[in-house]
Subunit: 183 residues, 2 copies
């Protein structure tokens, strides 16, 4: 979770990177020291989580996303490029003449399914009122899947009062951690 | 999860509501028919998830958020107002002379903890490399808490290959569902 921001961090940062402005981003989380901000720095752009939502349902090609989302082509291209740069999507050639690429979730990208499933569950319950436009069925038990968070260590479901926040070891800003992660 | 957008939905929608522009939003998800988009419509503004992150750690007052996030005061005020309007935060008077308010998570807001915990976990693992700046300890078992998604119906941990996407009953756009939810 979070810890206080280390440096100045305005919503519209006059010095924020040009590539973020081109992406339509109005917030720069790179100076935060926080794992939530770290995730938002990678997937918090407008439309990015919907691009990933579609990737989880099997969308792999530029034209499919463009048709589903209706975003401008340059905007979609910038997001796909960023997700490839962060290692969330992998670009693969599927046709050589003409050269065409598709975009597939990497293991790092697939690991975002918890974020998307908890978002979908909240939207189902608190916006759509229990039943949304789509849902998952748990094949093993046959029931509609609604996620509860369980503890990886002991397997028991955990709610917030059973959790205690502690300081960790990391002191890097999001920007520093991302630079390190990219090697 | 998602289903195709019903109407035109460009990244920068010339007709998008003035209040979204004032919030720094460059994307309008209201025409999507999707529970992920529904959640993003409520909490997808820049900084909003960090405001909520801080609320989960006990922040309740304007000045505390302002100091931690460094956002402009009008920007923070707009987000708090929106979160109160959506019923995610509740505004309570804590001082009468002068009149001062604090903002507390409602049950609907507290239900976002799964979104924030899965985001923090992904940032820990894939940006910070396992150990982030803060973490939760599961008090019951004493181990560091890393969330796994379990099925509410049967209690078993579920991964994506064990889930099957199905169409649900809802056909409303996010905007229609939000209007209905607000009554």
């Amino acid at each position: 979770m979070g810890s206080p921001v280390r440096k100045r961090n305005a919503l519209v940062n006059p010095g924020m990177d040009a590539h973020l402005k081109a992406m339509g981003r109005t917030a720069d989380y790179s100076q935060q020291v926080c794992s939530v901000a770290a995730t938002l720095e990678v997937v918090g752009d407008p439309w990015t989580l919907l691009i990933l939502r579609d990737a989880f349902t099997g969308v792999r090609r530029f034209e499919q996303w463009q048709e589903r989302l209706g975003v401008a082509r340059n905007v979609l291209a910038a997001r796909l490029k960023s997700l490839v740069g962060h290692g969330v999507l992998e670009r693969r050639a599927y046709c050589e003449r003409p050269m065409r690429y598709e975009y597939v979730l990497s293991p790092k990208g697939r690991d975002l399914y918890g974020v998307l499933l908890t978002m979908a569950d909240w939207g189902d319950k608190h916006v759509y009122g229990c039943s949304g436009p789509m849902h998952y069925v748990h094949k093993t038990c046959g029931h509609r899947f609604s996620p509860v968070l369980a503890c990886e260590a002991c397997g028991a479901p955990a709610t917030l009062p059973e959790l205690r926040l502690e300081a960790g070891d990391a002191t890097a800003t999001v920007g520093e951690a991302l630079a390190e992660a990219k090697g």
